[in-house]
Subunit: 189 residues, 2 copies
DNA sequence: TGTATTTTGTGAATTGTTTCACAATAGATC
DNA sequence: GATCTATTGTGAAACAATTCACAAAATACA
């Protein structure tokens, strides 16, 4: 778009944070701007890509191809973020008949495929009841990071990273904030 | 299951936090335990249900019935959390022919339905490009809270709550943690 | 070339959160 | 019923994150 320079307050506005925050964070990672001239977009983008390792693609698998697993596997924009879904898995034989574009493998092929593609991160979208069991299997196969969508705390060795994404909580938190806001407003009347 | 008492360290273990955290939080909301006897499960559950308003159901709508919108609208467990999806909407006429269980309304019926069901919270799962436009429409109709799945910062009046859920970020964060962990490990060898 | 202006970079101050430490106390044991 | 024990409840301490405030630098302009 022809923009060559950008200022901490511009980025802050777009990101919904303060300019100081932007500068502190950049400073933390050694990103230098130009006093008076702001940051050069070119080098800034490159620096950010390196910091977030977007220059290297990461191979991941999706386990559990129900509602969520399917939605995630069909999202095309992950590629632009260095997230490369190489295969998806499900225990249900009905799901293996690829009705759509994406191929779903049986669990038996998990080991072979994770090894072949050097997969270290898995997206876990199985029902609550199977989550720990599938998690154990993933850890056994050498998976080192799990994005867990089921509302359970997974037990993993300390060398495995788990990020719990609880969509019910995300929605509930908005419901609560709205309720509290309304109550506050009532008090002022 | 017959359990009548529970201790701060039991809950802490299950939740992955410290016992002090559990007690501080409970104390903040006036939940009293019994020194030596821990907390009574019955009254604790009731207290939590009240704090999170799970005793009152909240009507919400889903706007954008693509991959994610469909996945969310098919999730049955929201009901148990007081989240009641009363209707779903999409601009695409093809989506209105309900291939499945859930009915998808055209955007023209948004006003009528949100009013009828007293909806104040919306789940926004439309493409990035339409997000702000649809958001504006929702705010105009009186929506006070938005769970936003598109990777853009929505501009809303201060009386509207937005919770941004960025699934790419959630996955990326695990990829980064795993990479950093591996690098650390390499240093020790 | 000198002065004014804009924006960065960062210590210091502030604000917020988590952990520590221990007195208070309810219940268990003898 | 006296003593011992486990657990809460919470100020104080430690730690973490954010905001403030301003000197330093780069550019613009006279
Ligand atoms: N869909 C949502 O909007 C939503 C919202 C909040 C939380 N979640 C959570 O996300 C997870 C997935 O939700 P969903 O709606 O996609 O569930 P789903 O039931 O639609 O899909 C789960 C899939 O996992 C597969 N599966 C079951 N056991 C398996 C195993 N042992 N190994 C491999 N695959 C197995 C099933 O065959 C199914 O295809 C659940 O834990 C759910 O609680 C989903
Ligand atoms: N699917 C994922 O896993 C995923 C991951 C990360 C982020 N997201 C974000 O979530 C959002 C939804 O993703 P998706 O994969 O479901 O997209 P999608 O393209 O599958 O679905 C979007 C839906 O919104 C509808 N729509 C478009 N414009 C509209 C309008 N003006 N009013 C009403 N409906 C409209 C479309 O008809 C379509 O059905 C996007 O912003 C995407 O960036 C999705």
């Amino acid at each position: 778009m022809g923009v060559t320079r950008v200022y901490s307050y511009t980025l802050a506005g777009k990101a919904g944070v303060t300019p100081e925050q932007v500068r502190k964070d950049f400073s933390e990672y050694g990103i230098k701007g130009n006093r008076r001239g702001g940051y050069l977009t070119e080098s800034l983008i490159r620096a950010i890509e390196v910091i977030f390792s977007r220059d290297r693609k990461s191979n991941v698998v999706v386990v559990g191809m129900g509602n969520l697993g399917q939605a995630l596997s069909r999202y095309e924009r992950f590629a632009g973020r260095g997230i490369n879904i190489v295969a998806t898995f499900d225990i249900d034989p009905y799901k293996h008949k690829s009705r759509s574009d994406i191929h779903v493998y049986p669990m038996e092929r998990l080991e072979e495929i994770t090894e072949r593609f050097g997969v270290t991160v898995a997206i876990l979208a199985v029902p609550e009841i199977s989550a720990q069991e599938v998690c154990d299997e993933l850890v056994n196969l050498g998976i080192r990071g799990i994005v867990n969508f089921s509302p359970v705390l997974l037990k993993v060795p300390q060398y495995v990273v788990v990020n719990n994404v609880n969509l019910s909580d995300e929605i509930e938190s908005v419901i609560l904030s709205v309720r509290r806001m309304k109550e506050e407003q009532t008090l002022f009347l």
